[in-house]
Symmetry: C2
Subunit: 148 residues, 2 copies
Amino acid sequence: MTPSGSDKTVAIASDHGGFALKEALRSDLEALGYSVDDMGPDTDDSVDYPDFGRALAEAIADGAAPRGVLVCGSGIGMSIAANRHAGVRAALCHDGLSARLSRQHNDANVLVLGGRLIGVETARDCLRIFLETPFEGGRHGRRVEKLG
Amino acid sequence: MTPSGSDKTVAIASDHGGFALKEALRSDLEALGYSVDDMGPDTDDSVDYPDFGRALAEAIADGAAPRGVLVCGSGIGMSIAANRHAGVRAALCHDGLSARLSRQHNDANVLVLGGRLIGVETARDCLRIFLETPFEGGRHGRRVEKLG
């Protein structure tokens, strides 16, 4: 599926533990025709994941980007940081099935990955499925509304 | 490790997709000597996960229980719901390694599991490791403070 219009931007950020995977996924996104807002870091020097998770979550909550990708070592820290923000639904996924369900049932707008726990091809599969899978709505819509 | 004093309470909740696993883990907790605050549901009738996730997160944030366990179908919805609350660090785990890292690096106080994605023995392994693994502190402490 080729992105178009305002759907074209994907924000991406990581910490040092997720830096290498962020770089790989940014290349994938560009190859797929997305406009990537890389919110850092620019090196794999040690940083604090809440700083980068908060910045990306604010970009999603403010509407600067409709979708985002966050990577840290396990994905756990980033998923806590991002979900602190109303309107952000950050899904920590470890395979294509969880990525698909995160879109179908939770209308996830941030994909979170553990750069030290899953392999690069599994992560790329999660990303492609996250981007291509629509939300199912219906009873799931009522639940997503309750999340705030 | 045998729990003692105020550490003895573990709150647990689910939706219908996580109900069967919640029942199994409650039995495990009781056998391990924990006092279980089962926040529902009491049947596997369809419910909305944000209602139960919010109730448990409020119990953690208010100090009614030091630790909690949340189960839904994939774990994704519950992890979004619980992490909306300051002071709640809910970790979606899919194996013992992620459960260990959630304690060592993120000082997770809520274990989140996908009842339809992982098997009961994997879930029991996650729970035991979540309960037994201490937080490492140090640089991780600074990051946890930043999560709020």
